[in-house]
């Protein structure tokens, strides 16, 4: 727990909160990109400890929330075809258009919940007569492990392993938010773990083009208040710079070995974001050389354009236009036990954070 307890220290956190109160003179809207940061802010009660003028806007960094509806349907169809589908736990309760993966499992689908895609490769090795698909969702953080699973399967000569990939990238999403005319974001807290993989270089152009401060920030309470302090300080001083609060983990050029693995298997392409729509060059697609490991190419799965529940405002939540408790359905028709949209079920979804933890 070293490096955790130090960052959950009452005195140190309070000191920085006091500083934020001292320096804040104008109203500021700061978006934390990552859903993990949203949960930490709400779970630790930080939102109420901030000055009234500092408003945190919750960003789209919830991998489960932005995974397209039709991809969940595809994973379910694979289960129904008798494929062993492996998934991160977060994903399984998210509603597809008709049912969730968990419901598909209940009626006989062979769904495995894993922590690492490499375990899925082991399952493929142990079940040579079955097809095994890993539901590879996530941001830049999970991309290296998912790519590595493909390389691992290739090395073992496995023909029965593939991934159903839906990888999205943070910088294009930030740009889409900044370019939106409804945008009211004054500064960003960058997603620490994404930057641990990718480094921080990609963010300089955004800072410059949109004159918006970005502070790469960690996830513990002290990290978050420090990140917020650094952002407010820049705003109050009229600066816009890229700063790194999370330097104990995030290096300027990231994890070069992980980036090399990503680049071997994936290339940048257009991706659909649930609740937001298609964003050009906003995700990873599997390279031609590894098409045999692409479940969408390998299996005959139907693509049916399905519509989201009309009452769900997940898109506005993910773009920071509305907060979860501003939704008419919040806590009424939409609860974790009966979610209308993904942000209410995911452990990184803003709606779930408000539902489970918020006293607001």
């Amino acid at each position: 727990m070293k490096y955790l307890n130090e960052y959950r220290n009452l005195e140190a956190t309070k000191k920085i909160l006091d500083e934020i109160h001292k320096i804040t003179t104008k109203p500021w809207h700061i978006m934390e990109i990552c859903g993990g940061q949203t949960h930490s802010l709400v779970k630790n009660g930080i939102l109420e400890l901030l000055p009234e003028k500092v408003s945190m806007i919750h960003g789209p960094g919830c991998p489960v929330c932005v995974t397209p509806l039709n991809l969940i349907d595809k994973a379910i169809e694979l289960l129904e075809q008798g494929v062993i589908v492996c998934s991160f736990g977060d994903m399984i309760r998210v509603p597809g258009s008709k049912k969730s993966l968990l419901e598909a499992k209940a009626i006989g689908g062979d769904l495995r919940i894993l922590y690492s895609p490499l375990e899925a490769v082991t399952i493929a090795k142990e079940n040579p007569t079955k097809e095994v698909v890993f539901f590879a969702v996530g941001f830049e953080t999970t991309a290296p492990a998912n790519a590595l699973s493909v390389l691992h399967a290739e090395k073992l000569g496995l023909k029965n392993y593939s991934i159903l990939a839906s990888h999205v990238l943070v910088p294009p999403a930030m740009e889409a938010i900044l370019a939106d005319e409804l945008c009211r974001i004054d500064a960003f807290l960058g997603a620490g773990h994404v930057c641990a993989i990718m480094g921080i270089q990609q963010y300089y152009p955004l800072v410059k083009k949109y004159k918006t401060p970005i502070v790469v920030t960690g996830f513990e309470p002290l990290d978050l208040v420090q990140g917020i302090y650094m952002a407010v300080k820049q705003l109050e001083e009229g600066r816009f710079e890229l700063e790194n609060q999370y330097s104990r983990i995030v290096k300027p050029f990231g994890n070069t070995a992980a980036i090399a693995v990503i680049n071997k298997v994936f290339e940048v392409g257009t991706r659909e974001w649930r609740g937001i729509g298609e964003i050009p060059n906003s995700g990873y697609v599997i390279k031609q050389a590894y098409r045999s490991y692409d479940a969408e190419a390998k299996f005959n799965i139907s693509y049916i354009k399905v519509l989201e529940n009309a009452k769900c405002i997940a898109g506005q939540i993910l773009r920071g236009i509305k907060k979860p408790n501003q939704c008419d359905q919040f806590g009424k028709a939409c609860k974790p036990s009966n979610p209308l949209g993904a942000p209410m079920v995911s452990s990184e979804g803003a709606c779930a954070a408000y539902y489970h933890f918020s006293t607001l």
Partner: protein
Amino acid sequence: MTTENLGFETINLGHGSGGELTRNLLDKIIFKTFSNPFLDKKDDGAIVEFSNKIAISTDSFVITPIFFRGGNIGSLAVHGTVNDVAMCGAMPKYLSLAFIIEEGLKVVDFIEVVNSIKTAADESGVLIVTGDTKVVERGKGDQIFINTTGFGEVHPKAAISVLNIIAGDKIIVNANIAQHGMAIMSDREGLEFESNIESDSTNLNFIVRDLLEAFGNKIKMLRDPTRGGLGTVLHEIANDINKGVDIKESAIPLEKQVAAACEMLGLDPMYVANEGVFIAVVDKSIEADVLAMMQQHPKGKNAKCIGEFTDEHPNKVVMESVIGGKRIVSPLVGEQLPRIC
């Protein structure tokens, strides 16, 4: 008890037929292990005597894996029911014991489970007085399921009822939370992480008896937060009596390794299962005495007061975070799921 001279190595459908094979299994394993005057009569049921009001509780155990660090399905089946009876303010005396066995279960495994039941029952001071054994086809069960029902005499000084709780009453927890759930997680297939975390599965009837002896009706409520964990139980009580609960995150007893495992898997220890933990809601005047007594008891060494009931924010459990912020503790929905990153 060993497998020698039994004449069979796996349990098959015949062992549940009611015929000779069943008799063989019962005589050589069950009756031999649990022998006592009630069971030895081999009647269809047991006739027992009580002098006071009795508390009854039943529970079914379907845990997988059946063997885990710190216990197995057998010891768990005893502790679980013994503790539920104890939480009624009663001293458990008798247990019924019913098995549903999937054919193919290795006898050596069955004997290990039975021996654990025997040890746990002896340690808890309960007798197995009646039971049942069924065998189902392969694929229709998961190795072995156990049901136990416990019967206990209510302690003469006990007045356990949520309705007795008033604002200001203190909430005391006897032991580190989240041990059992994390021990099971670390043994489960697919969630590969190495740890030495052991289940906390144990009986709580003696510590409860000592508390009732010493403090009588000032012990207002007892509850063991098994499935759903501490968070869910606190939320249930708050809702049952339309009161609020204030707790402090920093006061919740949590072992370092368990905290780290929860961190790593993205689980909240407030919702992880326990099998040797109980909360006692006590009159505020006895808080220090209860803590002192519990900390002297082997089952309460890490006892802590984690918070209190309040008339503010009815139906809500509000936790003060380690950095002084506030959040609500909502009930667990479904199973806790490991997160992506």
